[in-house]
């Protein structure tokens, strides 16, 4: 067995477990997502899986649900080895997963979606009445009697869609149900319903794997918890045997593997470069005020999906109908398009969330990608001055030590970390004075992460203002001069200096007031 050296783990095969994973590893190219994981779960129990982003949780459930195949190791169902060629195989064996990205077809009705894979038939055709009855039953089981089964999925609000997804999963008669952040989009009332359903299913003898970032959910629900870190299964324990802080410690790891460049001490508060006052966008961003100084790195924190993405997009001119005031270097601006935002008069850059679909043009060369935002700088008359362009690109490749076989190779051939460097290089080429980053270190290796931290600090030292959204608490602590935590479209707390610590960040991200020493009190309600 390939147990991590620093952990005293040795779990004998568990005869009572109906689902076991033995020595499971998964590599994506050079990145190891799971490393020799042993894992078991039992019927009639809710098993919580904890871990930071990139700990390997989602790979674990993708393997269980048949979406990806492990690189090594065996899966055992009722003690017998099984392999899944696709999600249907796993479903047929009673393993049903509710994914974060929904597997619903938006143009079809709720009833159609619920019975998509195995509709009730009459004379060889779909029996709409039976299908509808079934949808009604399942919807009422999840407490969504208000959803008409004939409604199209695309017309439902996100929280209802999530409940439909749960109803759809229940319709498959699962033996093991996997929920991946299934409650992240739900309202408080819905969350209660989901708890009740899960309790009922547990009593019926289902095995439930539950993945959530919300600690209080886990306290309320789980019978057993397993902590993952860096692709390894660290420890499994019964609920109540570990304190919250112990759990957090297990998740983060005892030793800090990430080394951050030192933060400079500002004698005087830096001159503000970006000032936002009362920024509002529909019901997604509410009255946001924030400032980022020259040479300052300001972190944006909070649970995923609390409006951080929208805030960055608003500042980059992507959203229509944004109200409130934005000042850059003291000048009031109306940011109407990315083209304007990146212009030398404004000088904003955005490193977007999804580098594959928003940051990069994967089939195009590294060179073309790096120059994409700054071609106009090298254009003489009608033509691109390729010599100057190439010289600057080569310089940038050196500066960020981008490892590419050839700058003319498609950027798709690079590793994730180097791809992210290409996105950053693209925007450094514009000499932006304000850099917005949307979770730039997600899914990249530790070495590259450290290079990115150093780079951000160097940029700041050269006077760039940086607004840095990350889902990794550690980065907020290690990298940022100040941190603003968002919850439900507003900033609920601002932390500075010593107050930027794990406890404060976690607590305010959950909008809980664990900490009495907080300097900003907040009373944002649960999302309604």
């Amino acid at each position: 067995m390939n147990a991590p050296a620093e952990e005293p783990v040795s779990r004998p095969p568990d005869p009572a477990a109906f689902w076991q994973m033995r020595g499971i590893s998964k590599r994506y190219g050079g990145v190891v997502a799971l490393d020799g994981v042993d894992f078991a779960c039992h019927p009639g129990a809710i098993h919580a899986i904890l871990g930071e982003n990139g700990a390997g949780k989602s790979t674990l459930i993708k393997i269980a649900a048949g979406v990806v195949q492990p690189s090594a190791g065996t899966l055992l169902l009722d003690g017998e080895a099984v392999t899944f060629a696709g999600p249907q195989d796993a479903n047929a064996k009673g393993i049903v997963c509710i994914f974060q990205e929904l597997s619903l077809m938006p143009d079809l009705s709720v009833a159609d979606n619920i019975s998509m894979a195995d509709p009730p038939l009459r004379w060889g055709l779909i029996d709409h009445r039976a299908q509808r009855r079934r949808a009604e039953e399942l919807l009422s089981k999840v407490g969504c009697d208000d959803v008409n089964p004939l409604e199209l999925v695309k017309n439902l609000p996100l929280s209802r869609r999530q409940m439909v997804e749960i109803a759809k999963a229940l319709g498959r008669n699962p033996r093991m149900l996997i929920l991946d952040e299934a409650t992240s989009a739900l309202t408080a009332a819905d969350v209660e319903k989901v708890y009740a359903i899960l309790g009922e299913l547990r009593a019926q003898g289902l095995a439930i794997l539950y993945i959530s970032h919300r600690m209080h959910e886990i306290e309320e629900l789980a019978d057993t918890c397993s902590v993952f870190r860096n692709g390894r299964h660290i420890e499994t324990f019964a609920k109540g045997t570990r304190s919250d802080s112990e759990i957090v410690q297990l998740m983060i790891g005892r030793e800090y593997t990430q080394v951050y460049p030192p933060k400079p001490q500002h004698e005087t508060p830096p001159e503000p470069e970006l000032e936002i006052t009362g920024l509002t966008w529909g019901n997604r961003l509410a009255d946001i005020s924030l400032s980022v100084g020259k040479g300052e790195i300001v972190g944006l924190g909070g649970l995923d999906g609390q409006g951080q993405r929208e805030l960055l997009l608003a500042l980059f001119g992507v959203l229509r109908g944004v109200t409130g005031e934005v000042k850059v270097a003291g000048r009031r601006l109306r940011l109407t398009s990315p083209q304007f935002a990146k212009s030398s008069a404004v000088g904003i850059a955005l490193i977007p969330e999804d580098r594959k679909s928003e940051g990069l043009l994967l089939p195009m060369s590294v060179r073309d990608n790096i120059s994409m935002a700054s071609i106009s700088h090298f254009t003489r008359g009608l033509f691109i001055d390729r010599e100057r362009q190439n010289a600057e690109i080569d310089e940038m490749v050196r500066r960020l030590s981008i490892k590419a076989g050839d700058v003319d190779d498609p950027v798709a051939t690079l590793s994730g970390g180097n791809q992210q460097k290409v996105v950053i290089a693209k925007w450094l080429m514009t000499n932006a004075r304000i850099v917005l980053l949307n979770d730039p270190t997600r899914g990249i290796d530790v070495g590259t992460k450290q290079e990115i931290y150093q780079l951000l600090r160097d940029l700041a030292a050269a006077g760039t203002a940086i607004l840095f959204y990350t889902t990794d608490y550690d980065e907020l602590i290690g990298c940022c001069d100040r941190v603003s935590i968002m919850y439900d479209g507003r900033i609920v707390r601002e932390l500075e200096g010593e107050a930027i610590n794990e406890e404060n960040i976690v607590a305010s991200a959950l909008n809980l007031m664990l900490d009495d020493r907080s300097e900003v009190s907040s009373q944002a309600e649960e999302p309604a």
């Binding site: 979406v67 696709g86 999600p87 980059f316 992507v318 398009s337 990315p338 083209q339 935002a341 990146k342 212009s343 955005l350 977007p352 679909s357 928003e358 940051g359 990069l360 043009l361 994967l362 089939p363 195009m364 073309d368 120059s371 994409m372 935002a373 071609i375 106009s376 254009t379 009608l382 033509f383 691109i384 390729r386 003319d408 693209k426 514009t430």
Partner: protein
């Protein structure tokens, strides 16, 4: 570095930038010529080849514009009647205001329709498939109205005839030079200008290009406008070639133009493709049509072979990815 090394490097670079579809397409051209020469030795004569190039030039000019649109991930189905607009409006202008207005006015009309295509696709975001179809119908309507109302002149001007028919230099048809000029312009556009870079970028991922701060609307509009002008230019030459502009003169060009672009390795969903490939595709299609007609293959057999060749070649190198979750 010695000159020899330099040359070697350049050669390697050139080979690397030529992709597989282009090589296969050119290989197929050679095979067709050799096979044709077995049938009749005239297939390898300079005169035959030049004649083929002259016919190919009309298709080549249309394909140049269509290629830009396809690179964006769009399609231009208004080609047939924009070709006709080019032919009929240029001859009409010659009659109204004098021969010197013929070509500029023909091109101008193509530009206007192209711009409307671009506006519909970029601003209204109507799928190009259906919007250009609508413009095709409108252009047809305008032409029908035009011929009916005024009994206009339909004779090509001297210049148009000269451009389309004459051979003034080295016995090479003038039409080929025009194609060459347009072709070189497109190559420079694609390789050397920001617009070219943005065209490929939009074809690959419009959202990411937009987030790079590119004015994607302007790029879309420009490409449809260029495509409209290219079609009109081909119409001008065709009118010169047959000495008059007439209705439906562009009808036979839609499918060959799209097929030529795709056979040359340009991806029908955009983002990938080289102009060299389009040249290969145009010559391939023209040659195929010519050989079939020299062999006195009836039209029926021509069409069947034509369709099968396209499918067969694409099955060799144009297949998509398997769907995954």
């Amino acid at each position: 570095m010695s000159i020899q090394e330099n040359m070697q490097g350049a050669l390697q670079g050139a080979l690397k930038s030529v992709d597989r579809p282009v090589v296969i397409a050119f290989g197929f051209i050679v095979v067709m010529l050799l096979a044709g020469s077995l049938y009749s030795s005239s297939f390898l004569s300079a005169n035959y080849l030049l004649q083929q190039l002259q016919v190919a030039a009309f298709l080549g000019i249309i394909a140049s514009g269509v290629m830009l649109v396809i690179l964006l991930g769009h399609i231009d189905l208004s080609i047939p009647w924009l070709v006709t607009v080019g032919g009929m409006m240029s001859t009409a202008a010659a009659g109204w205001w004098g021969p010197e207005y013929a070509i500029p006015f023909g091109l101008f009309c193509g530009l206007v329709f192209g711009l409307i295509n671009g506006l519909g696709v970029a601003i209204l975001r109507v799928p190009s498939m259906i919007f250009t179809l609508g413009i095709n119908a409108v252009a047809q309507g305008v032409m029908v109205l035009h011929t009916g109302g005024f009994a206009p002149q339909d004779h090509a001007s001297e210049t148009m005839r000269w451009l389309a028919v004459e051979r003034s230099f080295l016995n090479i048809p003038n039409a080929v030079f025009i194609w060459a000029v347009i072709g070189i312009a497109v190559v420079i556009l694609l390789k050397r200008t920001p617009l070219g870079r943005y065209i490929y970028a939009i074809g690959n991922q419009e959202g990411a290009t937009f987030l790079s701060g590119v004015n994607t609307k302007a790029v879309l509009i420009a490409c449809f406008a260029i495509s409209g002008m290219c079609s009109a230019m081909a119409g001008v030459l065709l009118a010169g070639y047959s000495n008059k502009g007439y209705q439906a003169m562009g009808d036979p060009y839609l499918l060959p133009a799209i097929a030529a672009v795709v056979l040359g390795g340009t991806h029908i969903l955009g983002g990938r493709g080289t102009y060299l490939g389009t040249v290969a595709g145009v010559i391939l299609i023209s040659l195929l049509q010519s050989i079939l007609s020299v062999m006195q293959m009836p039209e029926a057999g021509r069409q069947i072979i034509y369709g099968c060749v396209i499918i067969g070649m694409l099955l060799v190198y144009g297949r998509g990815q398997r769907v995954q979750g």
